[in-house]
């Protein structure tokens, strides 16, 4: 698995997209921080981290689109599958590398609360809870993106499909609220963004953590199954 993590990280390091989007991510976060906290003279970071989650919603599909589809298209997947590593190790390695990049991106936002701590008291426990929520949310988004990447050889198609899926998940919560009743409760329970909002507002429940982890595992499992399905059918070659 270590070899796959190294291979994927090398990809990210050599890709201009990573640095372009990393820079863009930091810049947009800085703008939101300025609007929400500096100009608004507020020490409350809830709105800021809510914005970070939305920025991630738009950025992560670009990062995850190539993870499986590129190897499929170039045929390099054959080299990986015919090597002694298992499909589970292969997909886990790809996910782990993507998650490392996400952690680096999120770490860069630590400078904002650090800057704010010069002027206001920051609740460290609440901050840790917010970062945990962001990590769980982005892990779920990455797993979904990698799964969609395994369905197609086209990076563009994978990116667009991931974005549409995430927008549907994002819109589910307000739509549920508008509909009201039990529908709202069900949608709120299954929407990753509703769960994130709860944690971002300081409501930590084990159920939410288990939900995010289960969401991530289900999509990684589905990615492994998709790859296994292709192995059974041998890519259709004779």
């Amino acid at each position: 698995m270590k070899s796959i993590i190294k291979y994927e990280l090398r990809h990210y390091i050599h890709s201009s997209v990573t640095f372009l989007f990393g820079g863009l991510f930091f810049m947009i976060c800085a703008i939101y921080f300025f609007i929400d906290n500096i100009r608004g003279r507020s020490g409350d970071l809830t709105a800021f981290y809510s914005s970070v989650s939305v920025i991630m919603l738009f950025m992560l599909p670009v990062l995850t689109a190539r993870v499986v589809s590129e190897d499929r298209k170039s045929g390099f997947e054959v080299i990986l599958i015919t090597s002694p590593i298992s499909t589970v190790q292969m997909i886990s390695g790809k996910f782990a590398a993507t998650f490392i990049v996400i952690i680096i991106m999120l770490s860069s936002t630590l400078c904002f609360p650090a800057f704010l701590s010069l002027f206001a008291d920051i609740d460290v426990v609440s901050l840790a809870n917010r970062y945990l929520a962001l990590l769980l949310l982005t892990a779920s988004i990455a797993a979904l993106g990698i799964f969609i990447s395994s369905l197609t050889e086209s990076q563009v198609a994978a990116c667009v499909l991931s974005l549409i899926s995430l927008l549907v998940l994002f819109a589910a919560s307000p739509i549920g609220t508008a509909v009201g009743g039990n529908t709202a409760k069900i949608i709120s329970a299954v929407s990753i963004f509703s769960r994130f909002t709860e944690m971002n507002q300081g409501m930590f429940t084990v159920g939410t953590v288990v939900y995010f982890i289960s969401f991530t595992f289900v999509f990684l499992f589905l990615t492994v199954q998709t790859t296994a399905y292709r192995r059974i059918h041998g890519g259709g070659r004779s």
Partner: protein, 314 residues
């Protein structure tokens, strides 16, 4: 030793492999031949572990691919037909990655990789990005990758496709040299190449093995009535008369006439044919310009097997 036993594979309702069996010994270069869509790639995909759903057994030195996939794959080196390479890596980085995949011991890794790079003629380009290499060097890189971990079995799927004649010759020499320490399975559509490189060939047709033998044995088996090509400079049109009168000539036919230069295809049943025909023409003072055996080639054998299989199928 690689043992393939009763291999069957279905895609939906279509059975692409219908119980094929063959073996390859250590140090043997085995050529897989057959028309497109005959099951060669499926066979190779199964042996490499790319296809996991099949019936039958694939064993390498007793290790079954289904029971111990990781141990089996560790003993396999594979160059796919399209030779997919990570173009952003240098040759050495790619080799190091391949060594990582095969869990090659870190202590001996550098020496192992450099040994492979030297044997494949890549040592001087090891620091170059793969994207900047020529097609020949890219192909060598693909083969070098297959050698990492010193696998027992090396599978090369059409390794000379798209190369120029010099590169083809270099790759052939390289493949030949691999047989000393490995079993090599080699797929190609170029029959002269298979003839030059392989110790044995498996001819496949519609998911079945038609025959498995050494190329020379295949040719000998079918070439029971060899012929000769005779070219004479005959100013008085006496050649045909000589051929008609000669009791050692079974049959002849005119291949080409260009002025007084005549070319004949002759079938005979006498070991001393060359000597007798020489004196028969010398007696009439007709110079023989060329007398060469019309050899039965692997291509002829391949086509004969396929024709017979097609007729049987009808």
């Amino acid at each position: 030793m690689l043992e393939i036993e009763n291999l069957r594979k279905k895609y939906g309702d279509t059975e692409v492999l219908k119980g094929i069996s063959f073996t390859a010994e250590k140090g043997e270069i085995l050529g897989l031949l057959g028309p497109n869509g005959t099951g060669k790639s499926t066979t190779m995909n199964i042996i490499t572990g790319f296809i996991s759903d099949f019936e039958g057994s694939v064993r390498l030195n007793g290790t079954e691919i289904i029971k111990q996939p990781a141990a089996f794959k560790k003993n396999i080196g594979y160059l796919p037909e399209l030779n997919p390479l990570p173009v952003n890596m240098t040759v050495y980085e790619f080799m190091d990655f391949a060594a990582d995949l095969k869990s090659v011991c870190k202590k001996d890794r550098k020496e192992h990789i450099e040994q492979i790079l030297e044997s494949t003629g890549l040592l001087h380009v090891r620091k170059r990005l793969i994207r900047n290499l020529s097609k020949g060097y890219k192909q060598r890189t693909g083969i070098a990758q297959a050698l990492v971990g010193n696998p027992e079995l090396i599978i090369l799927d059409e390794p000379t496709v798209g190369l120029d004649p010099k590169q083809i010759a270099d790759i052939r020499i390289l493949v030949k040299s691999l047989a000393a320490d490995h079993t090599v399975i080699f797929s190609s559509h170029i029959l002269s190449e298979v003839n030059a490189i392989c110790d044995s060939v498996v001819i496949m047709y519609k998911g079945k093995v038609l025959t498995h033998a050494a190329p020379n044995d295949l040719v000998k088996k079918l070439d029971k009535h060899g012929g000769m090509l005779l070219c004479t400079k005959d100013e008085n049109n006496q050649s045909e008369q000589i051929l008609q009168q000669a009791d050692f000539v079974k049959k002849y036919s005119v291949v080409e006439v260009s002025g007084n230069i005549k070319k004949y295809y002759i079938k005979f049943d006498d070991i001393d044919f060359s000597k007798k025909i020489f004196f028969a023409f010398a007696d009439r003072q007709i110079p023989i310009i060329e007398l060469t055996p019309d050899k039965f080639t692997l291509e002829d054998a391949f086509l004969q097997y396929l024709t017979a299989a097609e007729q049987e199928a009808v």
